[in-house]
């Protein structure tokens, strides 16, 4: 019996999921925007405590990873699975770099005693508590999505290597790529709003 397959529908399904994610993070950005208007001085001050260099490096890393995952699709289309596997590996390395940077950033804050619910956090001014709570929640949720994306891309990379994803059937790679681009999209907005508006 011939298997029914509809790649356009498969991609559409991923896009619909992406819409829900846009609204999820969009809601958080809205909270940030309103609180920022309300506590602009304290948000401005608090943002100084974030490291814009690490943020910029993370932005560059994610942009590169988006390119490599997009290129991996071209590689599979051109029947070059080895190149595709290499490109996906680079994408995963980029994910690792991002996570390491986050570990350094968060680690530093936590080392200073600044984390949700800490004594230090609770003693801050209201606007500052809001800024850092939003910082931890939004970057944390983003990081979670990044880890999930990395797991998905690892599975996809293995399938490309073993050939179960190939030039006649690669919608799984496309969808994994779409999810990864979403992770990049979210960061494109997180970066300026949290790190650069000082």
């Amino acid at each position: 019996m011939e298997e029914h397959r509809d790649d356009t529908a498969a991609r559409l399904g991923m896009w619909v999921f992406i819409f829900t994610e846009i609204l999820l993070f969009g809601g958080l950005f809205l909270v940030y925007a309103v609180m920022r208007v309300r506590y602009s001085a304290e948000f401005h001050q608090s943002a100084h405590q974030l490291d814009a260099l690490i943020g910029t490096i993370n932005t560059v890393v994610l942009l590169v990873s988006s390119m490599t995952v997009a290129m991996s699709i071209t590689a599979v289309q051109q029947k070059n699975n080895n190149l595709a596997t290499m490109l996906l590996l680079i994408t995963l390395v980029c994910a690792g770099i991002f996570l390491f940077n986050k570990y350094v950033e968060w680690g530093h804050k936590i080392h200073l005693g600044l984390y949700p619910g800490s004594e230090l956090m609770v003693s801050l001014k209201h606007g500052e508590i809001l800024f850092f709570s939003l910082y931890f929640f939004m970057t944390g949720l983003h990081m979670l999505h990044l880890v999930v994306g990395a797991i998905i891309l690892t599975i996809v990379m293995i399938k490309v290597k073993t050939g179960s994803i190939h030039s006649e059937s690669y919608v799984l790679l496309e969808n994994g790529g779409l999810y990864w681009h979403l992770v990049d999209l979210i960061w494109i907005f997180l970066f300026p709003l949290l790190y650069l508006i000082t």
């Binding site: 896009w15 609204l23 907005f189």
Partner: protein
């Protein structure tokens, strides 16, 4: 099985998109050094929107998908923008 005629994007095209995105990132960082308060935020957000649009169009292949996808994405973004406008039109006048 439905196979579509797929457009294959070349590697050089993807490189060009990356260069553009990196240039926009550099622009964002330098623009935010000039402090014009509300205008700086606006500039950063406008550049971010251009970056997002580029990722959507080229990396996410929206350019080469059927118009159904483009319409749906536009609708979702329109809904979101509407929610922002409605929220602020309430909040700013309390």
């Amino acid at each position: 099985m439905i196979t579509e005629n797929k457009h294959i994007t070349g590697y050089s095209a993807y490189w060009r998109v990356l260069i553009f995105l990196l240039a926009m990132t550099f622009l964002t960082v330098t623009v935010t050094w000039i402090n014009l308060s509300a205008l700086t935020v606006l500039m950063a957000l406008i550049i971010a929107t251009f970056k997002a649009g580029t990722v959507l169009t080229y990396f996410m292949h929206l350019r080469y998908e059927s118009s159904l996808f483009k319409i749906l994405v536009s609708m979702v973004l329109a809904v979101y923008v509407l929610v922002i406008i409605l929220t602020f039109s309430d909040y700013l006048f309390r």
